[in-house]
């Protein structure tokens, strides 16, 4: 993945700082609660939600099980329809392919549809380094780009900004990038949307190259699908002469019919709408309608490594709706930046450590960025059992073991930071298999309970810093049981 977030502190450190930011917490609370209620309503409107969710899960599992076959099929269909297919094993290769394609057009400007894949590979930075300016055209991406900020949500990258902050960013920065914000701009959302419309229109009208991702790619027909709201997607997909789409290999669905599931579950899960305002589908190129040249860059960048993990591969079912973020109590309080990745929230906590490996401090800490409450699993429209994968990844971090990195099997060593935890577990195992020692230990603990500290010393301090130590009872359970025969004597 991109180097944008290298050197991020572990999740807990970043979250501790974020939690202290009251504006951020207010913004996130307001936004996530608004969307939560709306989503619940949009989902109850369809009586067959459970069946749609199960079908979505199975379609994705089936596709992943035969991914090689469907990739080849997709390549054939796209090529037959006039598109050119490129394959990129990692971020650098994808950036290189796109940069060369843009250079071949002779252009130094591109307009972009919001795309997680191009965020993930750091495409904008790679293009900038080659003298090509990439303009984000999604409203929230524009807010992030103008504010020299980082995205904090999959669907609404500027969710951490409130309307007042957005007004200030527009008023201050728009003139640097093109058409300035209108005089006397207020913080009304309608006026802010209007300012973005005016600012971006000149860029759309002169754009010769558009760059997008895709929500779905249909293997049998070679059709790509982009789901959006604002019309910026349509602008980028139809006005330029050249269109380059960078899409993760897991975005395939086998058949045209399969879209009937996801075009029902995605809008309701993400923006809580019956249907999003605009959905564009295109199959290769169309004579005299839209771009005359279409390039599809198929991106691996850790996806095949994720696919190799039996438990973790279900993360590849994700359709990027962001329902799990909106419902997560940890995300709501810590915000998206603490996750140190373009994929924040519960899905990010299982996706980033798999795409990037658990080598860095932030990636090793992400499986712990959860209370395992399970709300994310409940709302997921493709039934990804996020808590299951989190626990699986925690195990990997603590115990190490075999994983696949860049297509090769490697054996991970147990993480360093968990030495105290492992020592405690070893001690517990010994005590639980030595009944006499356990009994003596429990009695000592009960008798000395008045003197117990409220926090642990030494390496245990971090653990008890966020938890209350459990109170030790006056009498160990096993003694009480023997004395009263389990309360049968009426002694409680």
């Amino acid at each position: 993945m991109s180097g944008t977030y290298l050197g991020m502190p572990a999740f807990a450190d970043a979250a501790r700082e974020a939690v202290g930011n009251t504006t951020l917490r207010g913004n996130l609370r307001h936004a996530t609660h608004t969307i939560r209620a709306k989503r619940a309503k949009a989902v109850t409107e369809v009586s067959d939600w459970a069946e749609l969710r199960e079908a979505g899960k199975r379609i994705k599992d089936h596709t992943l099980r035969h991914l090689d076959r469907y990739l080849v099929r997709l390549e054939e269909s796209v090529t037959a329809a006039g598109g050119v297919v490129h394959w990129a094993a990692d971020a650098d290769e994808a950036n290189e392919i796109v940069t060369q394609l843009v250079k071949m057009t002779g252009e130094t400007e591109v307009v972009k549809v919001k795309s997680m894949a191009t965020q993930e590979i750091g495409l904008n930075e790679a293009l900038e380094a080659e003298g090509i300016h990439a303009y984000e055209t999604d409203l929230a991406e524009l807010i992030v780009q103008l504010g020299k900020d980082r995205p904090s949500h999959i669907l609404v990258p500027a969710i951490h900004r409130n309307r007042g902050e957005i007004r200030d960013i527009f008023a201050r920065e728009m003139s640097e990038w093109g058409r300035p914000a209108p005089e006397g701009l207020t913080d009304s959302p309608a006026e802010l949307a209007e300012a973005a419309r005016l600012h971006l229109r000149e860029k759309f009208l002169r754009a010769k190259v558009g760059i997008s991702g895709a929500n779905f790619m249909v293997a049998e027909t070679g059709t790509l699908v982009v789901v959006e709201s604002e019309g910026n997607g349509r602008m980028c997909l139809t006005l330029p002469e050249t269109l380059i789409s960078v899409v993760g290999i897991e975005k395939i669905v086998p058949t045209w019919q399969d879209l009937e599931v996801f075009l029902q579950t995605l809008p309701r899960s993400s923006t809580a709408e019956r249907m999003n305002p605009y959905t564009s589908t295109w199959t290769g190129t169309t004579d005299q309608d839209g771009p005359g040249a279409f390039h599809l860059v198929l991106l691996d960048n850790g996806r095949t490594d994720t696919l190799a993990d039996e438990v973790g591969r279900q993360a590849l079912r994700c359709i990027r709706c962001s329902a799990c973020l909106n419902v997560c109590p940890v995300y709501e309080r810590a915000g998206g930046h603490a996750y140190g990745s373009v994929y924040p929230g519960p899905i990010g906590a299982i996706l980033s450590p798999q795409l990037r490996g658990t080598g860095s401090e932030i990636d090793a800490s992400l499986p712990y960025a959860s209370s395992l409450c399970g709300a994310c699993y409940e709302v997921c429209p493709v039934a990804i059992d996020i808590p299951e994968v989190l626990v699986h990844l925690r195990e990997r971090v603590v115990q190490g073991g075999e994983v696949t990195r860049e297509g090769n099997k490697v054996v991970l060593r147990p993480a360093k930071g968990h030495a105290a935890e492992r020592a405690a577990m070893r001690a517990a195992r010994w005590a639980f298999t030595h009944a006499g020692a356990l009994r003596t230990g429990q009695r000592v603990a009960s008798r000395t309970r008045r003197f117990h500290p409220r926090t642990l010393p030494g390496p245990g301090r971090a653990w008890s810093g966020t938890r209350d130590l459990p109170p030790v009872p006056a009498e160990p359970f096993r003694d009480w049981w023997q004395r009263t025969r389990g309360g049968k004597d009426g002694d409680r």
Partner: protein, 211 residues
């Protein structure tokens, strides 16, 4: 080894030990939600279009030209984009300058046109969606995007289906499709929906009864 072979090889190795694919894809979800008469389906389409802030009008073939002329007048439209295969009758009552949809037009030229009138391929009642497929009476994708005012004519009940699954069945994936559910909108400011960003800010849908 090129990247294509590398990626396909990685996929095959990753799946080498995966269990055989035994769970069939069960499509036991509904083909449509609820039972409705044809008239009720059309009514639902009108309701859902209006719910997402499209302006809905109803007329018959005889009333259509006058209705379109009136809508263009109300809007103060100076010019109107016309797809090559649009029924000429539809614009018979208006004197607004017509601009033909041509491949050579630049985006800037399209930006100076006030309105566009098109037919559609299919309309989906449950979601309040109209779908354009680039047929001659709908024109190139960009003509319904750049002008700020789109008038779309739906023939009812012939072009109306209940649900997304039924809509997909009627559509040809080889054609470039645009699904439109209300005027352009955004939820990017505090996750609150605001209508009117880059696409046409006014969407008028005319439901024309078939005789």
């Amino acid at each position: 080894m090129n990247s294509r072979e590398r990626i396909l090889g990685r996929v095959r190795r990753a799946l080498a030990k995966a269990p055989a694919d035994e769970t069939p894809i069960v499509r036991d979800y509904l083909r449509e939600h609820g039972q409705r008469t044809v008239a009720e389906t059309v009514e639902l389409l009108a309701e859902n279009l209006a719910d997402y802030r499209a302006l809905v009008h109803r007329t018959d073939a005889a009333g259509l030209p006058v209705l379109i002329a009136g809508l263009l007048d109300e809007r103060g439209a100076a010019s109107v984009l016309v797809p090559p295969g649009l029924d000429e009758e539809w614009l018979a009552a208006t004197g607004v300058t017509r601009v033909t949809d041509r491949a050579e037009s630049t985006p800037d030229e399209l930006d100076r046109v006030s309105s566009v009138v098109t037919a559609c391929a299919v309309a989906i009642a449950e979601t309040g969606t109209i779908v354009l497929d680039g047929s001659p009476d709908q024109g190139r994708r960009r003509i319904t995007l750049v002008p700020d005012h789109h008038i779309c004519v739906v023939r009812v009940p012939g072009q109306v289906v209940s649900s997304v699954p039924q809509g997909l069945e009627r559509l040809d994936p080889a054609r470039p499709l645009t699904w439109i559910s209300g005027p352009s909108a955004t939820s990017d400011i505090e996750l609150d929906r605001v209508e009117g960003v880059h696409g046409p800010r006014t969407l008028e849908v005319i439901l024309v009864g078939e005789d």
